[in-house]
Each structure stands twice: as structure tokens, then as C-alpha cells.
Symmetry: C2
Subunit: 209 residues, 2 copies
């Protein structure tokens, strides 16, 4: 997109900007300075200006930033100006929880189908989306140009599922299994490693005592 490489640290802060700007919009605030934003979001004003200037001059000297315009710009950077076709693999509690999140759909992540190995789940509709046989996954992903797959299987089938997804042109994998998936070069991955987060939490618990 823009110039060169934006650092990972900056990228991971963008969604938080997006969320706080949305809150400001809800409160009908349409103008904010880096200093004021700093107070509510907790990043330094200097960091906020540096972060935003990676992508262009969104502010105005003497005025600050227009909340709604900045919200939209950051949305665009994150790729929220388009829709994504998604599937869920693993229709257990977690898969069902994700299927029921209206928030994802609201931001353009459109769930097309769910897949499972369990015959008892097949045909079930969750939030109006059908659970299909996982054997159909590869063809479905290819034929429907699925963008993102949420992998909620158990640990042991995760890599095998990832292989099928990659072979059929998946662009992104959202991995909820405690495994580091190996993907083809065309695909990107983000991990939700719950247990790692929980371990970190108990570390901090001890340190805080």
C-alpha cells in the first residue's frame, strides 16, 4: 500500500484506535487531539501521532483529528471497507460461539458455512448457517472463494485442515487450536492461543501478590 514496511507493533494498535474512535462517535464527539485521545486510550500523544503518520497526514495542525474521518481511514487500512467470506471448521461450543457473534458480520465478515466431522451436527443450522460434512470443505472453499477460515477443531486435526484450506486457496486462517500451523506462502494466520494467554495471566497474578 503506502511506502514500505509498517511495524507489527503499530498494526496491532490500530484496532484499538478503531474501537475508541467508535466510542467517541457514539458520544457525538467529532474532533479529538492526540493529547485528549492519549488520555482515554492510554498511548502517548507522541506515539499516536507517529502511528497515524505511518499512513498519511490524517490530522490538521491547530485542530486535531476528525473522529469520523479517522475512524473510516483506520477501517480502510484494516481492510474493513470490503466483505470477507468466512467458514468455521469445528461446530462445537467455540465454533457455535463464533457463529453467533453478530459483531463479526457487522464489520463485513460474512459466515457462509460451518463444517464438522460429527454426523450428529450435520444439517444443523446455527445463526442461519448450515453445518456441513468436513469432507466437503476443500471443494466448498475453492468453489465459493472463501477468504477466511476460523479453525476451531481439536489439536490433532488442525494441521490437516490447514493443508486442505491452503490447497484450495484460502487467504487467511484464524487459528483457535494450540498448534502453530504451517501454511503455504499465499495464506496468513492469526492465532488465539487461549492457554498461552491464561498462563500469562497466572504469571501476572503471582507477580501482583
Amino acid at each position: 500500500m503506502k511506502d514500505n514496511k509498517i511495524s507489527m507493533a503499530v498494526i496491532r494498535r490500530l484496532p484499538k484506535y478503531h474501537r475508541y474512535l467508535s466510542q467517541l462517535m457514539d458520544r457525538d464527539i467529532n474532533r479529538i487531539s492526540s493529547k485528549e485521545l492519549s488520555k482515554i486510550i492510554g498511548f502517548s500523544a507522541s506515539q499516536i501521532r507517529q502511528d497515524l503518520n505511518n499512513f498519511g497526514g490524517f490530522g490538521q495542525q491547530g485542530y486535531g483529528y476528525n473522529v469520523e474521518a479517522l475512524y473510516r481511514e483506520i477501517g480502510k487500512i484494516l481492510g474493513l471497507d470490503r466483505e470477507y467470506k468466512t467458514v468455521i471448521i469445528g461446530a462445537g461450543n467455540l465454533g457455535q460461539a463464533l457463529a453467533n457473534y453478530t459483531n463479526f458480520s457487522r464489520f463485513g465478515y460474512k459466515l457462509q458455512a460451518m463444517f464438522d466431522v460429527n454426523p450428529r451436527l450435520m444439517g444443523l443450522r446455527i445463526n442461519d448457517v448450515e453445518v456441513k460434512d468436513v469432507d466437503l470443505l476443500g471443494d466448498y472453499v475453492r468453489e465459493n472463494n472463501i477468504d477466511i477460515a476460523y479453525v476451531c477443531t481439536n489439536r490433532s486435526s488442525a494441521q490437516q485442515i490447514a493443508d486442505i484450506l491452503c490447497k484450495n486457496g484460502i487467504k487467511a486462517v484464524w487459528n483457535f487450536t494450540p498448534v502453530d500451523l504451517v501454511l503455504k506462502k499465499g495464506a496468513v494466520v492469526e492465532n488465539i492461543h487461549l492457554i498461552e494467554n491464561l498462563f500469562t495471566l497466572s504469571y501476572f497474578l503471582k507477580e501482583n501478590e
Copy 2:
């Protein structure tokens, strides 16, 4: 514990060491050098040695590290050498998913009770744990010395729940809601902000095209 302040970056790598060491144990490997570990875990050998030396000399020159001993040491650092009493607030799909994770229990995180506002869920047993009325939450946490609360409510009640938890002596909060909770000084928090992770994923998807 040890000397002074360990950096956040190091702490967040510890669970990954723990996981890979566990895999090595499964493969009956009982000795590993930083160089070999580097190859499978993806951190540089130098970084591995630096990380581990924050906590003490776990290795032996000319030999490397004993896998099982290192695994146990890291577990101890993360606080896995004790048990934690946990509760889940919000017995929807996500709460139920977390209640069913046998992995957490295996590492000492013992689920004591679940809470919900929905009367239809009350009395239900999930993985042998009862769903109680959320009105009982405060008393339960205080009387049973609950260590960690998994907050799986909706966005709007999250902070209110957090206040009740803090008032009754919770030590750690695992937050699954898209809100930055404000806690009393005695409590620590880790966030699973799903939507932020998903936004980051679509950013990378675009960059990778």
C-alpha cells in the same frame, strides 16, 4: 520473585517454550541445545539463552538444557505449580466452550461455578459445573476465595461484573469482552479481544495479496 523486572516480551514467550518443551517430552527427547530449540520454535538461539537467563542458569555448558527440568522450571515461573479456583461469568456458547476445555483443568485451573442472568440456564450443569444466578456472584467469589474469573458476558455488563469481582477479592480477570476493564489495584487482567485479532488478520490478508 527473582531480581527485578522481566520484560513483557519475555513473559509472553514463556508459554510457547512451555508448549514446545512438552512436545519434546512427548517425543522422549530429554536434552536440547538453544540452537536445536531455535530451529523448531523459531526464536533465535541467542534470544532463547537470554530469555532463560532472566530466571537463572537452567542450562549446562557443552550439554544444553534438560527438557523436563526446563519444562518444570518454566511451569513454575508461570505459576503452574499450584491450583487456581476459577469461575465463568456468562454461560453462553463461549462460556460453555471454556467450561468444556479439559486442558485448563489439566494445568490446575479448576472451574468451581458458572454464572448467568438467564433464568433458563440456571441449574444447568456443564461439564459437571453448575450454572448459578449472577446475583450470587459476589458472595460466591468472596466465600470461596476464587482466584480467576473468566468474563464472557456481553459488552454492556462487563465493567459492572468486574466491579463486583474486584469488590470481592478476585485476583485475576480473563476478559473476553471487547471492553478495556478498569480493575482495582489488587487484580490483574488479560484480554482476549477477538475482534481486534480478526481486524489484524484482514490487514495481513490485504498486505499478503
